[in-house]
Structure formats: structure tokens, C-alpha cells
């Protein structure tokens, strides 16, 4: 936990009010984002994202499974976040479980849509191999290595980067399997299918401190927040999910205002992230 003196609190709040934060940023400026793909070679896809001192790793593993009977034409995606005690001694033992759970649920809400899988940011129907019988199960595991605020945005960015780094092996289904039989499959070692990530949303968290709201809050700034709204927006500018955290109530008109600001900010963020991901992939290809 951050322990701030009264003077420091006033300094942070004053800075936000004057649109000049303690690290020199404006209210709606992100810290520089640094993406590194292929960080975990054993996974199907992985990425490390750094935003200032916040450092997260995301990895994607694909396994063949059976689609659920309610949605025979859709694959399954599970998002799981783990907070490493390296980030904060408080997370030792089971101490990080609560935050891990909160982040996992928020990410699922922002990226996977509702229970029916409708409106998901990730296209679940592209994961199907044989309808009703075989599909890919994607396990997205995230690890928080170092935390300095704004974990949700960083995790969202890491997942997007990891998915665009993911290669899913091509599967050849043996023809002739009929009726109720489980078809035989042959997983290719050489051919990989890329995942279409252009529609995966980014998450923009607006943290309200005092009368104003800021993006990409550091942990010092987060300690001053009264409420935060995380909005996931895709490239087309559609809102894919929304969560509000923090105790204080918000005026409905402010929420609408925040959404339109988030939409505006997300535009820049998506472009920035895409160019970072492309640069990281080019780097990886070279080495």
C-alpha cells in the first residue's frame, strides 16, 4: 500500500486539477508502452507489456476440447490472472487472490462478452474445428510481475499483443467419421493459423480523483481515486464492456461523458499499441 503524507496527497490532487500530473503528463496521456512478443517460447503466443513501472506478462495456450452443448459453434476462452508476490509483498501466499479474481472477472467482462458469448471482443466462432465436437480452448494466463497502477489496461494490452502473436496449429480432420463418433484429428506441427486480432478491444480506465478524471493512473494516483470506470472499446469505436470500481457514486451524465472521452482516447491507444505490436513482431523475426 502506498503511504502518502497530506502534502503529497494535495500535490497529486492539485496537479490533476491543473492538468499537469506529478510525472509531467497531462490528464489524458498514457505512459510510454513497451511491448515484447514471444516472451514465453513454450506458449502458443505470449507478450510482455510495460507501462512505466507496471509490468505484466500474458501467455496463450491452446488445447483441443469439446464445445459446450449450449454453444456448439463456439470455442472457449478462459482468462486467468495471477498476481506474483514480486510485484507487492502483500500478494504473498493467498494475499493476491482477491485482486487476481477481480482482474480476471473484469477482463472476462471486457473481452469475452456475456454468458452466451455474444458480443465478445474475441471471435469465438473462429475457434471451432468440427461443429459440436471439437474446438480450441484458449487459456489466457496473465502474470503481474510489477505493479504501478493501471493493471487492467496493461493486462488488456498484453492479451491483445499475446493473441496477435498466437499461432494455432492447423488441424486436419479425418474424413469419414460419421454420426456420433469423435472424429480423429491430426495436429500439424508446421502450419499455424494466425488469429484475427483487429477487433479485439483495448481497455481504457478512467480514474476519477476530485472533480477530474485521468487515464493510466500510477499507484500513488490510484490511492487518491474515488471511483474508476474501465471501458473496453474496439477499433470501430464500439463499447464492448464496462466496469465501475471504487466506492463513490457517479452522476449518470458524467459516466456518459467518460465514455465519450474513453472512446476518443482508445483511438490513439489502439494505433499506438498496433504499431508497438508490429514493431515487436518485426524485432522477434529478426532475432
Amino acid at each position: 500500500m502506498v503511504g502518502l503524507s497530506l502534502g503529497e496527497k494535495h500535490f497529486i490532487q492539485g496537479g490533476i486539477a491543473q492538468d499537469l500530473r506529478s510525472d509531467g503528463r497531462k490528464r489524458l496521456t498514457y505512459r510510454p508502452i513497451c511491448v515484447e512478443t514471444g516472451f514465453i517460447p513454450q506458449a502458443n503466443g505470449s507478450a510482455r507489456v510495460r507501462m512505466g513501472a507496471t509490468n505484466v506478462i500474458s501467455s496463450v495456450k491452446a488445447e483441443l476440447g469439446k464445445p459446450s452443448s449450449l454453444q456448439p459453434d463456439k470455442g472457449k476462452v478462459t482468462i486467468y490472472v495471477d498476481c506474483s508476490p514480486t510485484a507487492e509483498p502483500m500478494f504473498e501466499g493467498r494475499g493476491g487472490d482477491e485482486l487476481s479474481m477481480e482482474l480476471s472477472v473484469a477482463l472476462q467482462r471486457c473481452l469475452l462478452g456475456g454468458k452466451s458469448g455474444a458480443g465478445a471482443g474475441i471471435d469465438l466462432s473462429s475457434l471451432i474445428v468440427v461443429e459440436g465436437k471439437i474446438c480450441w480452448d484458449l487459456y489466457i494466463d496473465c502474470l503481474v510481475i510489477s505493479s504501478d497502477g493501471n493493471l487492467l489496461d496493461a493486462l488488456g494490452a498484453a492479451i491483445k499483443a499475446a493473441l496477435s502473436n498466437t499461432g494455432i496449429p492447423r488441424v486436419n480432420v479425418a474424413v469419414g467419421a460419421s454420426g456420433d463418433q469423435q472424429p480423429e484429428v491430426d495436429i500439424s506441427d508446421e502450419e499455424f493459423l494466425q488469429f484475427d486480432t483487429s477487433n479485439i478491444p483495448v481497455i481504457v480506465t478512467l480514474t476519477k480523483a476530485g472533480r477530474h478524471y485521468i487515464v493510466d493512473a500510477t499507484s500513488e494516483e490510484e490511492s487518491q481515486m474515488n471511483s474508476a470506470v474501465s471501458i473496453s472499446v474496439n477499433r470501430k469505436g464500439h463499447i464492448c464492456g464496462l466496469t465501475k470500481r471504487g466506492g463513490a457514486g457517479l452522476d449518470p451524465s458524467i459516466i456518459l461523458d467518460m465514455i465519450s472521452v474513453a472512446k476518443h482516447v482508445s483511438d490513439q491507444l489502439i494505433n499506438k499499441l498496433d504499431s508497438e505490436i508490429a514493431a515487436a513482431e518485426a524485432d522477434e523475426d529478426e532475432s
Binding site: 493467498r94 487459456y139 502474470l143
Partner: protein, 241 residues
């Protein structure tokens, strides 16, 4: 199965006495007092040190020396197959204990009474020798945190397969069922602080295998010293000295 080919090459193309490529980086976790990433081939671990600081649990406070604590955790994605419940199983508790004892032996705890030092190691990728990699990462992180140490403790493993002593086993060789000797070593004082072996080995061969692991530790120690020197130079440069 043949682990050493007639030409004298191992499965991953190394010679029996060859280590995997090692790489280290200091300062991966900005908010910790000291941190380091350590890679041995595909094994990749990250260590963070918090402290010396106030003891969190008063009943554990010691009036004559510092309390050293350690937690080892493995990421879900660290192994080939995805792990489901990684926290607090017997294996990680045992490794936490081993690392704690090894590090405690080289920290000058009597200089920091009534305080606590936390060492957290996180395995990002496991490919054999995680124990050794964790100890090496923890040493670097402790040095980065500026904690007084008796010596830089380093660790390396060795084994014995196909009548050949092998240095620095990877996962395939580790799970072959042969003996696996993990040594923790203080290079300056020339002392062994950690020694673990499973399965059986004739005593004269054991001597060779242990000696091989000690040579490995010395090589790691040289590398760690280089990294620390490089880091200190950079700090010096940034300060404008």
C-alpha cells in the same frame, strides 16, 4: 534412451561438461528494493527482494538477527502443459525452504537485527534446474538490494547419465531418472552450502559429479560478478561520478 550420442553430444547439442547459455538482468521490478531476472537456457526466473524492513508479524521478530523469508511460485504457463493449481503445493514449499536456508547462510543477518528480508522468486519458464536458477536470481537480487552478504552464493546442478557426468541438466535429462546433484556454493570461501541428490551413485563417481557441479557454480559466479560490475558501472555513470 540415449542421452549422450557416440560423438559425445547431448540431446540439445551440448558437450557433457557444457552449461546452457546463461543470461542475467538486474532491476526488472522497479518497485522492489532489489530484483533480477536469471535465465539458464530455457529456464527463466525472476526474483525480487523487499527489505530489510520492519517485521510484519511481531511474534516472528528476532532481537539478534534479521528474519529471512522466501516464497517460490510457478506461473501457470511455466511448464509445457498448463498447470492448474500452482500455489502452496509441497514441492514449492520445499523449494522455498531450500532457497531460504541457502540465502540465510550467506546474508550477514546479525547486522540487521529486528528487521525482515523478503525474497520472492517467480518461475516464468521451467526447463530443469529451476532450483539453481532461483538461487542465482535471488543472489543477484540481494546484491542489487545492497544487502550485506558473506559471499555471492551460486548454484548449479549436474547429473550422471549413460556413464557420463553431465553439467546443468535440462528437463528431459532431469526426468530421465538418473541422479541429479544440486550444489550451492560460496566461491570466495570455497564452501558448499547446499547439496541435494536423489537416486543412488557410487561414491567415487559422486565425487566427480559434485566436482563438476562446483565448477559450474564457479562459472556462474564469474558471470554474476561481471553482471554486477557492469551494473555498478552504469550506476556510477548515471550519477556522473
Amino acid at each position: 534412451m540415449e542421452y549422450v550420442s557416440p560423438e559425445g553430444l547431448r540431446l540439445d547439442g551440448r558437450r557433457p561438461m557444457e552449461m546452457r547459455q546463461i543470461r542475467a538482468e538486474i532491476g526488472a521490478v522497479a518497485k522492489a528494493d532489489g530484483s533480477a531476472v536469471f535465465e539458464m537456457g530455457n529456464t527463466k526466473v525472476i526474483a525480487a527482494v523487499y527489505g530489510p524492513r520492519e517485521v510484519q508479524n511481531r511474534s516472528q521478530q528476532m532481537n539478534d538477527k534479521a528474519l529471512v523469508r522466501c516464497e517460490y511460485s510457478m506461473a501457470n504457463f511455466s511448464t509445457g502443459d498448463r498447470m492448474r493449481k500452482p500455489k502452496g503445493d509441497r514441492r514449492s514449499t520445499e523449494i522455498s525452504l531450500v532457497i531460504r536456508q541457502t540465502m540465510e547462510a550467506c546474508i550477514l543477518t546479525h547486522l540487521m537485527p529486528r528487521s525482515q528480508i523478503d525474497i520472492f522468486v517467480q518461475v516464468l519458464q521451467a526447463d530443469g534446474g529451476t532450483r539453481s536458477a532461483c538461487i542465482n536470481a535471488a543472489t543477484l537480487a540481494l546484491a542489487d538490494a545492497g544487502i550485506p552478504l558473506r559471499d555471492l552464493v551460486t548454484s548449479c546442478s549436474s547429473g550422471y547419465l549413460n556413464s557420463t557426468p553431465l553439467l546443468d541438466l535440462n528437463y528431459v535429462e532431469d526426468s530421465a531418472g538418473g541422479p541429479d546433484v544440486t550444489v550451492g556454493f560460496l566461491p570466495k570461501l570455497d564452501k558448499v552450502t547446499l547439496l541435494q541428490m536423489d537416486s543412488k551413485l557410487p561414491i567415487d563417481i559422486f565425487e566427480n559429479v559434485m566436482q563438476l557441479a562446483i565448477e559450474g557454480c564457479k562459472a556462474v559466479a564469474n558471470y554474476i560478478r561481471e553482471i554486477l560490475l557492469e551494473n555498478t558501472k552504469q550506476l556510477e555513470y548515471r550519477r556522473g561520478l
